[in-house]
Subunit: 161 residues, 2 copies
């Protein structure tokens, strides 16, 4: 990355009118310095993952058109795909009404995103409506898109209990 | 709501295998007791909003098939649509690999969701790639779907600076 990446300007948040109805980029980061980001496949529309960005990750994503996140488990800036090759090319970046959430529409080789090997991180559904107190998750993807062992090797699993 | 809503069972998180590859619902709530939730339109696939649920909101959503959130600005359980009439009927509820995020696909009257009056909360895009340090937001919805003054009256705006 070059130094220009860090110079994307964020406006100071001054009024609800400015934040909601204006054309200034004035993102709100939480007490950990993070903003939530939902990432969907530009091809299928499917939700692939929900991640978080710090200011630097958001700036780099805007400047480079490649998705950068902040890994909460590893506490580092995370250029998605740097390990797996599954780089996310940003087709569109949107920001929500109060500017505390980002939506990326991305293109990925093979449309695969999840570290477990599935296309989407959201590969299981929970039955809703009348039913048992104990709900059984249903797998919505019948097979993995890639073998995480081959792609990630012995890198530590990011999931925390 | 009846008392059964509160009795949806959550499993204790015991292993990565259980959480990622199992069929038990074992959601992870953050230090504020919340789990992130992305909500898309079942009709258009568009991302409508990114909200948060506490355990009770998730249980009620599962039990009733209507989206419930936890309002961080008001610090209350929030049955979406109770004020506006724009109730979200849950067509599908998914949970992600490490079970710390939820994806709802919903049907809404008029497909409108955002408190500012737009269809989606994500009604503005940020240009990505080479460009000025100061990015100008672009409105992606040309007009509001409803008049928030008529729908919400003088209810306080939830946006916080």
């Amino acid at each position: 990355m070059n130094s220009a990446d860090s110079r994307i300007d964020f406006a100071t948040r001054s009024s609800i009118e400015q934040v909601e109805e204006g054309n200034e980029l004035a993102p709100k980061f939480d007490e950990h310095g993070l903003i939530a980001c939902v990432t969907t496949s530009a091809a299928s529309g499917e939700v692939l993952m929900l991640g978080y960005m710090n200011a630097e990750a958001l700036r780099r994503t805007i400047a480079t058109s490649e998705a950068h996140y902040f890994s909460r488990s590893r506490q580092v800036l995370w250029h998605k795909g740097a390990t797996s090759g599954l780089v996310q090319k940003v087709v569109e970046l949107r920001i929500d009404d109060d500017q505390d959430a980002v939506w990326l529409r991305v293109e990925i080789p093979g449309d695969a995103s999840c570290h477990v090997g599935y296309r989407s991180c959201f590969y299981r559904s929970v039955p809703v409506g009348p039913g048992e107190f104990k709900r059984v998750l249903k797998f919505e993807e019948s097979e993995k898109t890639f073998d995480p062992l081959k792609v990630y090797g012995d890198a530590p699993n990011p999931t925390q209990l």
